[in-house]
């Protein structure tokens, strides 16, 4: 019995000492977040009650769980960085963080994670920010359900919503990022998953990859961004079921691929973009089950693209399906549906009996002399396109879909 009591009391003490709760509010013993962080012991929980806390440069240097109850606001008053995490196992939940300082020499962020592991940042709302969530040389973290609304106008004086730098195994899910420079930016970050996010109305890219390999992004929506999504200098990226829409402007595209190898682009929808996918120097990419609808150019191939395969995609009502700037082709098109296909299917097997040539002469001409686009939809252009279709001279003559589908591909 005595033993049990001792055991119980020891248990109680450990529990209280391990998971001690500190409350912060205007009338509590602790009135500032900074004080709470200083007083807290590792593995404590800090609960911040409703209120406005004018603080910045908060350094979380021990494993803490910081929870905001009823959405307390931390206002940085544009003085600099707000929360910096330098310890492993930190969780931040339910805060509103506002007014991050803008600087041209250092990248102030609302929340920065530095050389830490196992962090969680969730249900946070960021407003008036420079950089939003900045993950630096940190691994195995989660960034969930955050809402980042910036007020960026120009590229040079704005920051990114969520930025990863030399970080591995980060999960980014269910976030909303709007009005910043790049919605989500990954540099030298491998094995990350980006799921179910909405990135829109950003000044530059909705999502931007640089030198990051083996990442997966799926079920995201990218719309109305300055230039769409850019995937550059990366390997083995998987892009599944994303929606790219309304990236409409003179230098816009749904997705830009530059120096991308061995990627998989499956089940995505591209609609109302000036250019659906702009491809440059990308090899061995699988394009499958994508929908391209009402784009200016569905796919624009700039050169140095080899052994890519396009199968079972739907190309619907694009001004140009495919544009090539050379007449050499090493890519395969097979079993796609083309809305402008005019062939027939006599044996009723669902596959057109004559091959389809997706590259029109006019798209070749426009590539050479961009001004000629002014003749778009002119009758003369229809005539020369037709004659080129009958006997190709300028467009790659082996570039064709030998098995064009008669009905929209379904999967």
């Amino acid at each position: 019995m005595k033993k049990l009591v001792v055991f119980m009391s020891v248990m109680l003490m450990t529990v209280t000492s391990v998971a001690q709760k500190l409350e912060v509010c205007k009338t509590c013993a602790i009135t500032t977040v900074q004080a709470a962080i200083t007083q807290a012991k590792p593995f404590d929980t800090i609960i911040i009650r409703k209120g406005i806390y004018k603080e910045f440069d908060l350094n979380v240097d021990k494993p803490l769980t910081i929870i905001g109850k009823n959405q307390p606001v931390i206002d940085g008053e544009l003085k600099g960085e707000i929360i910096t995490i330098t310890s492993d196992n930190v969780a931040i939940d339910g805060l509103i963080i506002k007014n991050v300082g803008t600087s041209y020499t250092s990248d102030y962020a609302a929340i920065r994670v530095k050389r830490s592991k196992n962090f969680t940042i969730q249900n946070v709302v960021l407003e008036k920010l420079f950089f939003g969530i900045y993950i630096e040389r940190s691994n195995d973290g989660k960034i969930l359900n955050n809402k980042i609304i910036g007020d960026a106008v120009e590229e040079y004086n704005s920051g990114n919503g969520i930025q990863l730098w030399y970080s591995k195994n980060i999960q980014i899910e269910h976030n909303v990022v709007q009005h910043v420079r790049d919605g989500i930016y990954l540099e030298f970050s491998d094995f990350c998953t980006i799921k179910n996010n909405l990135s829109s109305l950003n000044v530059r890219y909705g999502l931007h990859f640089m030198f990051s390999n083996d990442d997966v992004y799926e079920n995201n929506e990218f719309s109305n961004n300055g230039a769409g999504v850019a995937v550059m200098f990366s390997k083995r990226i998987k892009m599944y079921n994303n929606l790219f829409k309304d990236n409409w402007g003179t230098a816009s595209y749904g997705m830009l691929l530059k120096e991308i190898n061995d990627a998989e682009i499956i089940g995505n929808t591209f609609h109302d973009n000036t250019i659906g996918i702009n491809i440059e120097g990308s090899n061995r990419i699988i394009y499958k089950h994508n929908n391209f609808r009402n784009n200016g150019w569905a796919i624009k191939v700039r050169g140095a693209c080899y052994t890519n395969t396009f199968t079972e995609n739907n190309f619907l009502y694009n001004s140009f399906d495919i544009a090539y700037n050379s007449n050499v082709n090493d890519n395969t098109f097979d079993r796609n549906f083309w809305s402008s296909y005019t062939g027939y299917d006599l044996n009723k097997n669902g596959i057109g009996d004559i091959p389809y040539r997706p590259v029109k002469l006019f798209s070749y001409i426009v590539n050479r002399t961009p001004e000629t686009i002014i003749l778009l939809r002119s009758m003369f252009i229809d005539i020369i396109d037709f004659s080129e279709k009958v006997s190709p001279v300028f467009t790659p003559d082996d570039l064709m879909d030998n098995n064009p589908l008669m009905k929209k591909a379904t999967w």
């Binding site: 000036t274 150019w297 001004s319 001409i365 002014i374």
Partner: protein, 260 residues
């Protein structure tokens, strides 16, 4: 002049061809709307039809009407009437009845479809306005050709040739020039080239309204700057009006001098 206009107009209203023309547009409108189910897509398809077919029909109809009513015209000429009012009356009679067929034929199905609640109403009105302009322009050109050629076959030939030139050959030459001088800045050239051909001008106006402007890239920016502003719109409508006024003035001039 108004009497003759009225006479020509009613004469054409009674003729079978106006009904055929009207019915054709009505059918086209209905088919497009019910097969497409998308108003802005239908507007694009309609544009393709309008910039090719309206000029063709305007030209053929104009020439045909002139030659057919030649005897009646000669009868009128014997009366104490001003020559300009006889020919202008006839011209306006043809042009107005054709425009009416176009506007009613296309307008009715779209109105029933619910155009007034749609955002495409401006695109659609622009389409009808340019269509009407094209009718006025090509009927005037047709009358010019017919006035200058006694020989029916020659007159028809020239009329078809004119249509072919403006609808197809002009664009071919335009394209050759653009490619030939691709190393030079071409935005002004392409702007002027578009202004000089009423069919190209109408097409560009409609395309820019349909937001294909983003496809135009750098050139598009210049075009958008020009056509997107009210200044550009006014200039292009002035250009279209000039295309109506100059041939009409020539009808007046030619008809005064012509020996019947």
């Amino acid at each position: 002049m108004l009497k003759i206009l009225k006479y020509s107009f009613y004469d054409l209203m009674r003729s079978r061809w106006s009904y055929v023309y009207f019915a054709f547009y009505l059918l086209l409108g209905i088919v497009l709307l019910f097969l497409n189910n998308d108003l802005s897509k239908a507007v694009i398809t309609l544009m393709n039809v309008i910039i090719i077919l309206v000029p063709l029909i305007g030209t053929i109809f104009g020439v045909m009407y002139y030659y057919n009513s030649k005897e009646f015209t000669e009868l009128l000429l014997a009366q104490p009437l001003k020559r300009s009012s006889i020919f202008l009356g006839q011209y306006l009679g043809v042009a107005i009845s054709l425009s009416m067929s176009l506007i009613l034929g296309l307008g009715l199905p779209f109105v029933f479809y619910g155009l007034f609640e749609s955002s495409a109403i401006w695109d659609f009105s622009l389409l009808l306005i340019t269509g009407t302009f094209l009718t006025l322009i090509f009927t005037a050109l047709a009358f010019n050709i017919a006035l200058s050629n006694e020989n029916k076959i020659k007159g028809f030939g020239y009329a078809i040739l004119l249509w072919l030139f403006l609808a197809v050959i002009y664009d071919g030459i335009f394209l050759m020039i653009l490619i030939g001088f691709e190393e030079y800045p071409l935005d002004k050239v392409s702007l002027i080239g578009t202004m000089l051909n009423p069919i190209d001008l109408s097409r560009t106006l409609i395309l820019l309204k349909l937001d294909i402007s983003a496809l135009l890239g750098y050139t598009g920016a210049i075009f958008k700057q020009f056509f997107g502003t009210s200044f550009g719109l006014i200039v292009s409508f002035i250009a279209l009006s000039l295309w109506v006024i100059v041939p009409v003035l020539r009808i007046v001039y030619k008809s005064k001098k012509k020996d019947f």
